[in-house]
Amino acid sequence: MNELTESSITSGSVNKIRKNEKTAFIFLWAAAAITVLTLIAIVGSVLINGIGHLSLDFLTKEPENMGKDGGIFSIIITTIYLALFSLLIAAPIGISAAIFLTEYAKEGPVIRLIRFGTETLAGIPSIIFGLFGYVFFVVFLKFRYSMVSGGLTLTFMILPTIIRTAEESIKMVPMSYREGSLALGATKWQTIYKVVLPASIPGILTGVILGIGRVVGETAAVIYTAGSSLGLPNSIWRPGRTMAVHLYILASEGLSKSNMYATATVLIITVLIINFTANRLIKQFIRS
């Protein structure tokens, strides 16, 4: 009698456990589904509203009436200009920093300080970078609203991304590569330059590409440093307007819905291409 009750209790609670598990797993599936569906909704709504307004003219013509009419040619060029400028500075510094952290530095207070600095820099919001860039580059160093002010501000912003990815990919190069090279009589730097770096290039490039993504999508840090004036910056000392800034101005001033969505579409397609490339590179790197 006693045994029977006990087993019925157990079977009841087993059912309850099964039911709980089912409910919980439905929630987990739902969380994942919501994440993906939100992404699809956002990307989809931009593409659906914008793709119809996209044309060769839009990409190759200059903006007219403050962006209400015409295209975004000089805006695309400014965006590329600014991305290349900040990468040209951030990539060598970031990669060198990563080499130092992985190959030279010994665990200790200096390393901890550098790591804390990099992490902190990564957590600083872009509006703070904007304020800093404005007061330091634009005003204090008298670089004015220019590609230089914008590019240098963005350099600080993307540096942590580049350092972190480069560090991870350098760490993944097998120790035996280094030992082989050193055994052949190469110096430490020769080993790094000729063996370690070539082996970690796809990983390093991923960080660089993610850096491009951040520059392309950035608004707050750019608008107060590179400015928002239309027209091609014909020197690095001239201001310019990037795609993200243009989109922000069109959206907040309600100038033109069609040009707003068309700009958003170009921006999101650029981001898609950047992410896709970064993903391919990571996969290639992991395989090798």
Binding site: V46, F100, P125, L131, G217, E218, L272
Partner: protein, 282 residues
Amino acid sequence: MKAYERVIQLVLFISAIIAVFGVILISYFIISEGYPVIRKVGLLDFLSGNRWAPTQGVYGIYPMIVGSLLVTAGALVLGVPIGIGCAIFLAELAKPRIAGILRPGIELLAGIPSVIYGLYGLAVIVPFIRKVFNNQGFSVLAGSIVLAVMILPTIINVSESAIRSVPRDYKEASLSLGSSHWQSIKNVIVPAARSGITAAVILGMGRAIGETMAVIMIVGNSPLVPESILSPVRTLTGNIGIEMGYAGGEHQKALFATGIVLFVFIMLLNIAAHLIPKKAGE
């Protein structure tokens, strides 16, 4: 040859400390620009002042502090359960094929620029709230919904790696004692990954407080303490972002002072996240 190697090592070292140098430079310039206003107004009055009227030289950022905290709290309420759920799903349930779709999706979510989030909020979320609640639509709620999505990648990625760092033995021991998979997740794996998940939430909070452009586009920006989650609100970031375009003189310095408060919030969150061990057993 030896000298050459030394020069290289020095160059690499200098590159490595540039990030630290950057943090010092940023802190110094933001503080030296904003501090005079805080000193003039008085720290307490600046933080607890209810009125922001730059044309009259009145600078109180209390409404913006409340605004930032409210919008962020809302984002966490919506984003944390979904984010942690998604992280558990990825670490424990997802088959490689499904993870292969989900993971790039999350990366893309992290890569979408804030203006695009703002545009989506402006074009979809705000009108939706306007229709359902019959108000102006620009509100705390709109901001929280959009920020919840924006902080998902941070929460998911950091939580997932925390969950994955829980030693396999824990789960196997729990299963072999007769626990179901869910019981093992709930009673063993998640508790073991607790500190990493906490760090994930703190980092997500930092992102939400620091977000500017998307928030400006959807919360209405009136510098008043909101009456409800359906009222318009202005955040600390919004206060800077909206007025930097035209502010000059003392007004501009007051925006840098707002920046100091924001910076302190972010630094506290960063330090907290830094101090918490992110992996189980550390």
